[in-house]
Symmetry: C2
Subunit: 84 residues, 2 copies
């Protein structure tokens, strides 16, 4: 694996994993007032479409990263709707 | 342009544009308490690495979408640090 591929994998891990601390924070504090409902609605819809796109073009990295991100952003959207 | 490419472009527009309502909300309310600093630190770093990756592999869609997203997530990170 070359350095450029490793850079891409680090980038993908950071952007995918970044939503986990937000989900944990919302679960712990039960506070989501400052989160934008519009952001998490558009983001979760967009990630779901990326996942469908990945399946259609048979791209495993797109499928894998968007599967994980979809779990996190759906959880944050659910918490936003629950604790708004 | 085929339907799969159009689907990918819609997905990219939604995930890129989703951060705009969050930035606007934080500017208007001056409240960022519920936003995760860890999320926006990891996300902004990851998007910056995606941009470098896009430049290295000469992929215009990766460069374009991550340029726009980097502006939005950097703005939210700045607002989080300012109004924490």
């Amino acid at each position: 694996m070359n350095l450029v591929t490793i850079l891409g994998l680090i980038a993908a891990s950071l952007t995918t994993g970044s939503f986990l601390p937000q989900a944990i924070k919302a679960i712990r504090t039960k506070q989501t007032k400052d989160l934008s409902l519009g952001m998490y609605t558009a983001l979760t819809t967009g990630i779901a479409l990326w996942l469908i796109y990945g399946v259609l073009v048979k791209d495993i990295p797109i499928i894998a990263s968007n599967c994980v991100t979809l779990v996190f952003t759906s959880a944050i959207l659910f918490l936003k709707l629950r604790y708004k």
